[in-house]
Structures are given as structure tokens and as C-alpha cells.
């Protein structure tokens, strides 16, 4: 309350983590002692247990601890966005509320950030999770994310990250995008990204809120990000590429139709299949081109109106 603009904001989304709150707050408080000014933002994502009461008790004791309550359970991405929106520090650190991240790593991340990066992601060395349901899918997901987004991050699932506030103001999280902050930040805000190894502990309290079901969601989100990356500048070109492939099929079907017509006899009068297939592929060509034009309209309107934020630039090394 007293200081106007703290240097460091730590954002922790909490959902039914009553058992973790007190050890978490104590560990973070101890870890950030070295900073001149800091704040801890606990975001309650509509918990139904004592999480809020405990968090508010800590806030009452220490003015640097703030509690943001969401109206209902929205999920991790909106909760994180809420924390970012309320963070006042020049440097913002996000982490999970389940004590699997170690707050003692915060100074390391911040130090790395101050070497001149916009985003520093932690990657979990010696990850303490179940092999089959967590580590193996995560390994595949990270490889895939790397390939598709071309952002060299080894561990996208690790929430422990540090950001410049200027970067966060340019990144808007929705849906389940919190996993892809580095990719989105790189694609839309031109962020400079670094990685540091962080500690990882096995879950002590509560239960994990993830399951295997999210694999499909991650794949969908990945496609979206890929799209946003290449699509937000020239959607028509991308749709036209798809249309070109469809055109190849259309021509192939057309050729097949002509060939089939050569040996046309009244017995084969029902051989309209290839011309039909050619028409269908042609229809797809037209459809994709039209959609591309529609997307251009949406982009044009967006660029014309306010609301577009330019990427981060650095005229000199910080």
C-alpha cells in the first residue's frame, strides 16, 4: 500500500490450495527478501475451500500481499491474466500455487531477465511427476511446440517465468493460452526469450488439476498459435496455399475424368464420379479463397481501428 510502484510482482493463481497457501506465502516472502520493493499477488480462481480466507489473512498481516478474487472458477489462463492486470511491478514473476515450483528460484529468473531479456522461462530439471501421465506427454508436447512455434523453449508447462511488464501489456491471454505465453509473446510482441533451470518438487498437498484429456486441447491451441503466427499478416496467402493443394486434386480428378470419358460406353453411363470429385475440389478452392478474403477484412478493420499494439523494441541494450 505504501510504496507506489514496486520493482517486483509475484503472481500466483490459486484454486483450492488451502493447504499450500501459508507455506507458499512464507517461502515467497523469504525468497524475495533481497528485493527493495515487491508485491505478492494471490489470485483466487473461485476456490471453494479456505484458500481465500487464508490468503486474506496473510494480506491483512502484510501490506505487500494482495488478494484478487475472481467471481467464479475460470481456469488458469484467465486467473493468470487477472494477476498480470493487477501487477504493478516492472518485473512480473508467475508461478504455480502448488509448491512444486521453488520460490528460491525467483531471484535467478529476475537476474537473468535483467541481463536484457523480455521473458525468462524456467525449465524443470529433475521433474518430480508421474512418468506416464505427465512426463512423457509433456516431452512430446514440448517437442511439437518447439517445432511448430519455432520458439526454443524446453519446458512450456513450467509456470515459473519472469516477464517485463511492458511485454505483458502486449500479450493478451484467453482460452488456455497460458502454456504458450513464450510462443505468443515471440509471435506478436517480438519478445527476447531466455531459459534458466529451476528446481521442482513433488506435490505435497492437494491434488493435481490436470489430466490426459488436455492433450487434444493443446493440439488445437497449437494449431491456433501456428495460425496466428503466419496468418495475422497474410491470411489470404495462407488460404491460397491450401487452395492450391485443393486445386491439384481438382486438376487430377479432372484429368481422370477426361481419361475415363475416352473409353465411354453406354454401359459405363454412371461414370460421372471423377467430374463430380473435380467439382468438389474446385468448390473447396473457391471456399478457401473467399475465407482468406474474409480474414483480410477482419485484419484490415483491426489495423485501422485502435487496439493494435506494436511489438517491443530495444534501441539500446538494457
Amino acid at each position: 500500500m505504501t510504496q507506489t510502484e514496486p520493482h517486483l510482482s509475484v503472481v500466483v493463481p490459486l484454486y483450492n490450495e488451502a493447504a499450500s497457501v501459508t507455506p507458499l506465502v512464507e517461502a515467497i516472502t523469504a525468497a524475495v527478501e533481497g528485493f527493495t520493493s515487491w508485491e505478492l499477488i494471490l489470485v483466487d480462481d473461485g476456490s471453494s475451500d479456505d484458500t481465500v480466507a487464508l490468503a486474506q489473512a496473510h494480506a491483512a498481516k502484510d501490506g505487500r500481499v494482495r488478494v484478487i478474487r475472481l467471481a467464479r472458477n475460470y481456469g488458469q489462463t484467465p486467473a493468470m491474466q487477472a494477476g498480470f492486470d493487477h501487477a504493478q511491478g516492472k518485473v512480473v514473476v508467475s508461478m504455480d500455487g502448488d509448491l512444486q515450483n521453488d520460490p528460491r528460484d525467483i531471484p535467478l529468473l529476475v537476474a537473468k531477465l535483467e541481463e536484457g531479456y523480455d521473458l525468462v522461462a524456467g525449465y524443470r530439471k529433475n521433474r518430480q511427476d508421474k512418468l506416464v501421465t505427465r512426463k512423457i506427454p509433456s516431452w512430446f508436447a514440448n517437442r511439437l511446440i518447439q517445432r511448430i512455434t519455432r520458439v526454443e523453449i524446453r519446458d512450456n508447462g513450467c509456470s515459473l517465468k519472469a516477464y517485463r511488464r511492458d511485454l505483458l501489456r502486449r500479450v493478451n491471454l484467453y482460452s488456455d493460452m497460458h502454456r504458450f505465453i513464450p510462443a505468443v509473446a515471440a509471435a506478436t510482441a517480438g519478445a527476447r526469450i531466455a531459459e534458466v533451470p529451476v528446481r521442482h518438487h513433488a506435490r505435497q498437498y492437494g491434488t493435481s488439476k490436470y489430466g490426459l484429456s488436455r492433450i487434444l486441447k493443446v493440439l488445437g491451441d497449437l494449431l491456433t498459435i501456428k495460425m496466428i503466427r503466419s496468418f495475422r499478416e497474410r491470411p489470404l496467402a495462407m488460404m491460397a496455399a491450401g487452395a492450391l493443394v485443393a486445386m491439384v486434386f481438382a486438376v487430377a480428378s479432372g484429368v481422370a475424368a477426361v481419361v475415363a470419358a475416352q473409353g465411354f460406353t453406354p454401359e459405363k453411363a454412371n461414370a460421372v464420379v471423377f467430374p463430380g470429385a473435380a467439382m468438389l475440389w474446385l468448390g473447396l478452392v473457391g471456399y478457401l479463397l473467399m475465407l482468406g478474403l474474409l480474414a483480410e477484412v477482419a485484419l484490415w478493420e483491426h489495423r485501422k481501428g485502435e487496439g493494435e499494439q506494436l511489438p517491443l523494441v530495444h534501441e539500446e541494450q538494457i
Binding site: 483466487d44 473461485g46 484478487i68 478474487r69 475472481l70 467471481a71 467464479r72 475460470y74 489462463t77 484467465p78 486467473a79 491474466q81 487477472a82 492486470d85 493478451n172 491471454l173 484467453y174 482460452s175 488456455d176 486441447k217 488445437g220 494449431l223 491456433t224 495460425m227 496466428i228 496468418f231 495475422r232 491470411p235 488460404m239 491450401g242 485443393a246 486434386f249 480428378s253 481422370a256 475415363a260 459405363k268 454412371n270 461414370a271 464420379v273 471423377f274 463430380g276 470429385a277 468438389l280 475440389w281 468448390g283 473447396l284 471456399y287 478457401l288 475465407l291 474474409l294 480474414a295 477482419a298 485484419l299 483491426h302 487496439g307 493494435e308 499494439q309
Partner: protein, 324 residues
């Protein structure tokens, strides 16, 4: 009548704030509005709250609202908002909300669905509880089995699509904090689902059983077009509640199922072709191509949807803070 803080339409309504604004959008089958006012205002007078009735009228209601203007001139707390175009109920509600300044808003259809005492109960429930919206449930039902059957069927589908536990979404009698009505993007026919939309935005919604009105007991059978519209409304609602931020999950699922089936069909044909069977006269080839094409179209549509969502992401927030 001394209890009421009297509002005259011409007496600078902006300055005078009341406790409760009752909004009556006048759309389909309005009843005698003066009678309606006289029936529903006594419980508000008894509740010792200051109130106003705001009638939102489309151009064709001119003669209907004339007597209301006379009542207002006599000092009754009535305002008539007349718009110049036919706009539909959702637009009327939003417009009226923007012109009301009471912290609590009650929406009341221009026909009688619940007994007058319900208004007082709804307002009291809103004031007592922690909720942002209190919606009336006509219970116990005393109307014909046909009405009840229709309602049941509708809510069965609604519950399956949205996992809501409300029983009478269609009853337009609701009390809510003004903010709720201002913040909800109501348009088209979605005002019917106001409680569900409010819950999605993070407002807490509860249901209060209130006695049904005598007039509401008549059997209602609509034309087929009305039922068709309800089905389309449900589809639209389902999509909006679940996928507004992630259209690709919806279109992508449909598209990948179609494309997978189509791809399977084409693979079978390719296998047969390689084994020497002719496929040029097999309509199955057309089916396979058709399914693949439709699948790609659905996914592409979803991608364009994602672009639109992405472009509007700045400034829009998908969360709402808790009210404390």
C-alpha cells in the same frame, strides 16, 4: 402514496434515483398496461422502497402507452421510453437499463406470468442474499399439462446442453443488480437465456419459486416456426457459452471427424484400386471426397474464427472479479 418518491417524466429524471426500476419491454401480446401497473405496483409500495416503472415501447405501441403517460402526468412513478424503430426485446431491455439509475432492476414482461407478490419477494431475496440475479420460477405450476410438457422438454434439452440447474429460464420476471444488465451483451433472442449468460460472466444466479398468475394458465401452442427458432436459439447458446473464445475447438472437432471418415473411405478405395478394381464408376469416391472437403472447410472456418477472437483479445477480459 406518500411513501413513493414521485417521478415525473419531465422533472429531470437523471437527478432522482430510486431503489428499484421495473422495466417492462412491450413486445408480443401486451395486456392492458394500466391494469398491469396497478396490479404490480402495490407490493413495491408495501416494500417501502422507492421505485419507478419504465415502459420501453416500440413505435407501434403508441396508443397502448398513451394512458401510461396520463398516469405519469398525475404523478405516478412511470416513465415511458419510446424508440423510433422496432428493435426487439433484447435491445429494449438494454436501452431501458441504460436509462435507469436504480441499483436494482426488475424485468417484467408486458403480460402477467406471476402473481404481483412475486416482485416484492424477488427484490427482498436479491437484497438479502449474495446473488446478482434472482430469477422467478413459476412453482407450483397450475397450468395445463401441454404447457408443462413443453417447458419440461425445453429445459431437458437446455440442461443437457449447458448443465444449468434452473427450471424456468423462459419466465421473464427477474430481479438483478443494474450492472448485470448493462454488462451482458444481449441481442437477438438471447435475452431469454439471461440467467445463463449472467452465470457465464461470473455473476451468481439463483432461482426463487413464486406463484403463477391465473392468466398464465391458458394453454399455449405456437406455430412450427416458433419451435424451430427455439431450437436454433439453443444451438446458438450452446456455442456461445462454450466456444466463444475457442471456435477452433468446435469447428475443428466437427471438421476432423468428417475428414477422418472421408480419408478412411478414400484409403479403402485406393487399396482397391491398387488391387486392380476400377473406382471411376463408384459413387463412394464422391462421398469420400465430399467428406474430406467438408472437413477442411469446417477447420478453415474455425481458424478464421480464431483470428477474429485473437484480434479482439486486447482489452477484453474473460474473467470478472469477485464482488466484495
Amino acid at each position: 402514496m406518500e411513501l413513493i418518491k414521485v417521478l415525473r417524466p419531465e422533472a429531470g429524471e437523471q437527478e432522482v434515483t430510486v431503489d428499484v426500476s421495473v422495466i417492462v419491454p412491450i413486445t408480443e401480446r401486451p395486456e392492458d398496461l394500466v391494469e398491469l401497473y396497478h396490479e404490480y405496483s402495490p407490493p413495491l409500495i408495501e416494500s417501502k422502497r422507492t421505485f419507478e416503472f419504465v415502459f420501453a415501447a416500440e413505435p407501434w405501441c403508441g396508443p397502448l402507452v398513451e394512458p401510461l403517460r396520463e398516469l405519469a402526468a398525475q404523478g405516478q412513478p412511470i416513465r415511458v421510453l419510446q424508440v423510433g424503430q422496432t428493435m426487439g426485446e433484447a435491445a429494449l431491455l438494454r436501452l431501458a437499463a441504460a436509462h435507469c439509475h436504480a441499483p436494482v432492476i426488475v424485468t417484467l414482461p408486458a403480460y402477467r406470468r406471476v402473481q404481483a407478490s412475486a416482485l416484492g419477494d424477488l427484490i427482498q431475496s436479491l437484497a438479502d442474499g449474495e446473488d446478482d440475479v434472482v430469477t422467478a420460477r413459476r412453482w407450483p405450476r397450475r397450468d395445463s399439462w401441454l404447457n408443462r410438457l413443453q417447458g419440461r422438454a425445453f429445459h431437458l434439452v437446455l440442461g443437457g446442453l449447458t448443465s444449468t440447474r434452473l427450471h424456468d429460464v423462459a419466465c421473464g420476471v427477474r430481479a438483478m443488480r443494474r450492472e448485470v444488465l448493462l454488462n451482458l451483451p444481449l441481442y437477438g433472442d438471447f435475452f431469454r437465456f439471461l440467467p445463463l449468460l449472467a452465470a457465464r460472466e461470473g455473476y451468481s444466479v439463483t432461482e426463487l419459486p413464486v406463484p403463477q398468475h391465473e392468466r398464465d394458465k391458458s394453454t399455449r401452442v405456437y406455430g412450427p416456426g416458433v419451435y424451430l427458432r427455439r431450437v436454433i436459439d439453443l444451438l446458438g447458446l450452446f456455442f456461445l457459452l462454450r466456444f466463444t473464445e475457442k471456435p477452433l475447438r468446435f469447428f475443428g472437432l466437427i471438421g476432423s471427424i468428417l475428414a477422418t471418415v472421408g480419408g478412411g473411405v478414400l484409403a479403402v478405395l485406393l487399396y482397391q484400386r491398387l488391387n486392380g478394381q476400377g473406382i471411376a464408376d463408384r459413387p463412394l469416391l464422391l462421398l469420400g471426397v465430399l467428406l474430406v472437403v467438408l472437413g477442411i472447410q469446417a477447420v478453415a472456418l474455425g481458424l478464421v474464427g480464431e483470428i477474429i477472437v485473437h484480434l479482439h483479445a486486447s482489452g477484453r477480459r474473460s474473467y470478472q472479479l469477485h464482488r466484495d
